[in-house]
Symmetry: C2
DNA sequence: GTCTATAGAGCGATAGAC
DNA sequence: GTCTATCGCTCTATAGAC
């Protein structure tokens, strides 16, 4: 994706990536010019072209780097939860929503969606390295709850999909569209109800 | 949003809207030039500027027109369903997913998301005239099922949000990113499980 | 109202000095 | 490797004939 050679000027390369990510997130990919990125990074435009093949290559490098950050952010996904299904589900829900609501994550998702038609390879990389990895983590936890008899989940991946998307719902939808007004649904209420629904649907047979 | 005067050349205006919608959906808003739109519509570029103030105004006119089509597409939302909750839920799910999976709807959503940062007013119009109207229809049906004792739903709007987003899930996510490969989840399987979850969570107390 | 032709600005990418 | 300066192109929007 990028030039394999990086002797010492890796600092400038990082500055370019940081500046480009900020500009792209703020203005969108198509609307951001290389001149603006160069100015924001404190380098000349030619320096950017010595590190990256072009604007598309720069875009790809940002997506890949950001996906790694995603994976780290989901680290101890059910940290500090109790030992019952409700606590674990609620803790995962909170961790997930905190990540999804970060402005940078939203902006990155907007960009990938917007450029998906012209950069299908990048959309695939993002999807597999970002959302899929995160969902796998949640599916593993659900499978663990199933093994311990705390829940009865025949298909953990399907249950994960329903759980995650119940959570995102209107809150994520509104954030994606930049509607920052008062939402018709609260995040806390949505999480509580999603956990309740999961328990009702996947609670172990008594 | 558009000039209030439209004597007789409304035909050209419609042709411009049709062509612009097709081009925008195909190539994206930013990547589509007014020259291409003019050529596709069979008019000159100056004619477009006599009907619309500029590219943004043209974009807004397309969004508004498309929202009306959405509302019609959700017409008899639970048509042909039986009289039990499971049938009604499944019928609504099928109607909704058929609409959401239309290429034009996906493309329109991509565009609104992509331009949300620079056109917040358009994002708001789209959200309220599109998704909110559709969800209200579903919430009304759920409230009806509650009144008839077929389900027990204290907050129909919240239940609608969870239901709709369970359905969209990975299928919509992948379609939005243009990943047309074999999905890890099938649409039919997702609908069946979402209906089952809804019945488990909101089934009437026996 | 609609056309042809063009203005005027900004873009991505590069050449060559250092 | 990094800079300054610039090329060649495409874009949105407009002016003026019909």
């Amino acid at each position: 994706m990028t030039k394999p050679l990086t002797p010492r000027s890796a600092a400038k390369r990082a500055a370019i990536l940081d500046a480009a990510q900020a500009c792209f997130c703020d203005q969108g990919f198509a609307a951001t010019s290389m001149d603006v990125v160069a100015q924001a990074a404190g380098v000349s435009k030619a320096t950017i072209y010595s590190h990256f093949r072009g604007k598309d290559d720069l875009f790809g490098a940002i997506i890949c780097r950001r996906c790694d950050d995603h994976a780290e952010g989901m680290g101890p996904i059910a940290a500090g939860a109790g030992d019952d299904a409700a606590s674990v589900l609620a803790a995962m829900a909170r961790t997930l929503m905190d990540l999804l609501m970060e402005p940078e994550v939203l902006a990155m998702y907007r960009m990938v969606v917007a450029e998906a038609a012209r950069h299908p390879d990048l959309a695939r990389i993002y999807y597999e390295q970002g959302p899929v990895r995160g969902k796998q983590r949640i599916a593993d936890v659900l499978a663990g709850l199933d093994r311990r008899g705390l829940l009865a989940i025949p298909d953990p991946w399907l249950a994960t999909d329903l759980f995650v998307n119940m959570l995102r719902g209107e809150v994520f939808h509104r954030a994606l569209l930049g509607l920052d007004g008062p939402a018709r649904l609260s995040l806390d209420g949505t999480i509580a109800e999603a956990v309740r629904v999961m328990l009702a649907a996947y609670g172990p047979r008594p």
